[in-house]
Amino acid sequence: MEGLTLSDAEQKYYSDLFSYCDIESTKKVAANGRVLELFRAAQLPNDVVLQIMELCGATRLGYFGRSQFYIALKLVAVAQSGFPLRVESINTVKDLPLPRFVASKNEQESRHAASYSSDSENQGSYSGVIPPPPGRGQVKKGSVSHDTVQPRTSADQQEPASPVVSPQQSPPTSPHTWRKHSRHPSGGNSERPLAGPGPFWSPFGEAQSGSSAGDAVWSGHSPPPPQETWDQTTVRTVASATTANEIRRQSSSYDDPWKITDEQRQYYVNQFKTIQPDLNGFIPGSAAKEFFTKSKLPILELSHIWELSDFDKDGALTLDEFCAAFHLVVARKNGYDLPEKLPESLMPKLIDLEDSADVGDQPGEVGYSGSPAEAPPSKSPSMPSLNQTWPELNQSSEQWETFSERSSSSQTLTQFDSNIAPADPDTAIVHPVPIRMTPSKIHMQEMELKRTGSDHTNPTSPLLVKPSDLSEESKINSSVKFASGNTVADGYSSSDSFTSDPEQIGNNVTHQRSHSGTSPDNTAPPPPPPRPQPSHSRSSSLDMNRTFAVTTGQQQAGVVAHPPAVPPRPQPSQAPGPVVHRPVDADGLITHTSTSPQQIPEQPNFADFSQFEVFAASNVNEEQDDEAEKHPDILPVEKASDSASSLRVAKTDSKIEEKTAASVPANVSKGTTPLAPPPKPVRRRLKSEDELRPEVDEHTQKTGVLAAVLASQPSIPRSVGKDKKAIQASIRRNKETNTVLARLNSELQQQLKDVLEERISLEVQLEQLRPFSHL
């Protein structure tokens, strides 16, 4: 080998290319695909390339050492510059431009004229390192590649290994590799079985040349005119870590490998049809899993391939997704490393908003139902477009339209949603609802829906539809996001959801509060606490205690002594004794209480208690029956007025003694009269008694009134045994008082229960509100 002097730029360039070709880092590049590709990309005639190889000594060595590689590159530059290839020329030719290498998409372009632009586009897709020479490629290819194309195609067909540099090679071979599952396709770059690859390789000598140059070719892409600048650029880019450059080149060249050729695509489509006859349908995850498992790739890699290819994360593959996945599998089989992100060329590109919206339904359905065949036509291809138009708001609007369709069409989804949305409209909002994360517009719409739904309080259509829409929407989206119903993706929506929930809850609470508000109002005003209040209207002007004391004192003397004493109306507990004595009076009192206010002005008409006493004593015996009769009368009457008078029972207790005495004679008097009249006289007597009560002290007046009252009464039988009758009367009165008190107690208990229930309901509401309190 002649000494090779390289300029700095050349040195860097060549070293970079060498490292690019030196896949195995063995410092010697076998004539693998990369080198060959590089040389092909040099767009030199085959004989020239052969000559170069011979000159650099690779043919002798059988591989490209670094020096041979450099020499080869130099010779390529020489040849490209038009100088004759001489060994001496590598050093003699000064200012030799760097060898130029063009992406050798020869076979593809020759096969598909239309792909020229695509190639240039692909070249353009290179990561800026290699500016694509759109027109140049065609020109060059025309000259060089014709003779190489045909053998190349055949070679491609037979070429199992896919050199990284020429991705177009590998994809066409993929079908064959795929079919030959038993024969493991030579993955990995190591296999470059260029030995006997085909007639095309023969020009390159014995399969050892080319590759390194091919690799160098990639980085050398540049239009001829700005060669220098291009070289500068490449040098600069190359100047960075060689590995980085290599990676960049590889990544840039990966864009090419990821492009699916038509032949490949046709093959993929055919494979898709074997699984899913409808090209617009979906392949469910399980079927796809089985299919791709046949490729014998590790599950981990298959999982990663799925993650990359299932763009909308619906668990099913559309045609585009399937092709992308297939392509990735093929690439992986051929040694390509799986990218972290889906290459652009593999991304589903069909953009059809309307279809995408519909397609969104499909994957959702498919994902859940697992049946791919129901996809309506023209839906699957647009599914990926959803992803493309992800950031577009139009998509959201489309999705909204389709949501309504979907919710009606997809039974499984509505069923799923029905689980989420219970009958209660308020809680429906609280339920977990799949929500789309990204588009804020959708969030706003969701929030609006939620709010409107809460406002409507309609459990059926709006809320059920909306959760289903939201779920479908999420399915459509590339990421199915299930968020708790009250949590939405971003803070905005979360706050909205929270506000919406408290709104509903507030509605609930307010609603309940309204109920509860009314109930306390209902309970509070109607029945004043049955606590004896000295400020009661009836006794406001009366010192009940004093009267009670008087009554008590009188009571001690005897039952007869009760009437004159004003019954201590305060608590029944306070005056159980005296009160007991007037059970009858209590009954009568209750009925009388309703009319009590009317009796106040009649106070002057007090009866004479002394006369009452006489009556009570004399009529004890007869009272029993009368009281028995009177009780049922009074009780119904009492019950009728219970609701109103329950609270006043205590108040009326003080009057019980009076009433008892008064009612005793009344009962006695009614003994002979039918039951209907008795209440009247009782009331009259009670009236008189009420009037009597405030002025117990005024015995004279009472006496007069009593006399008048008594005079109006029918004949009153008189008992003989005062004591016995008095005792019996007192017993009866006690019993009546007992019943009255028991009734009062029950009423109080009921009120207590009501209050407790209200309290419990309020506590429940508080608990419901508590989870949202700290948001």
Binding site: S303, T427, S479, V480
Partner: protein, 141 residues
């Protein structure tokens, strides 16, 4: 700044646990393990009647210990639990931030589950999931 993120399966074995590589990763594992008891307690405390309304986000599981670490819990409807140990010394993370982190976790977990090649119950080895967790663990640190 999540210091440790763990995904616990329904049967309380870890599907995914990853923490910032520090000197004492076992400490984080221990915290996650003890947090599971608190999680179970919160789940059972909800009651059967409130299953539908039960919130997925469980909140702070127990107050910070001496190392200023808090653990937050989140349980999905399939009883898969996410436990996140957060270092609260740097910034006081608001509740909403924790919620958003759990939401992302849940979404990524859903994506993993949608992968037909993933068998439920296997360890999560998805690269996308890993990258998401990495972003969460690094974002505030």
């Amino acid at each position: 700044m999540a210091v440790c993120v763990a995904v616990i399966a329904k049967e309380n074995y870890p599907l995914y646990i990853r923490s910032i590589p520090t000197e004492n990763e076992l400490k984080f594992h221990y915290m996650v393990h003890t947090s599971l008891d608190v999680v179970d307690e919160k789940i059972s405390a909800m009651g059967k009647a409130l299953v539908d309304q039960r919130e997925l986000y469980l909140g702070l599981l127990y107050p910070t210990e001496d190392y200023k670490l808090c653990s937050y819990g989140y349980v999905t409807n399939s009883k898969v639990k996410f436990v996140m140990v957060v270092d609260s010394s740097n910034t006081a993370l608001r509740d909403n931030e924790i919620r958003s982190m759990f939401r992302k976790l849940h979404n990524s977990y859903t994506d993993v589950m949608c992968n037909p090649f993933y068998n439920p119950g296997d360890r999560i080895q998805s690269r996308a999931f890993d990258s998401m967790v990495t972003s969460m663990m690094v974002q505030v640190c």
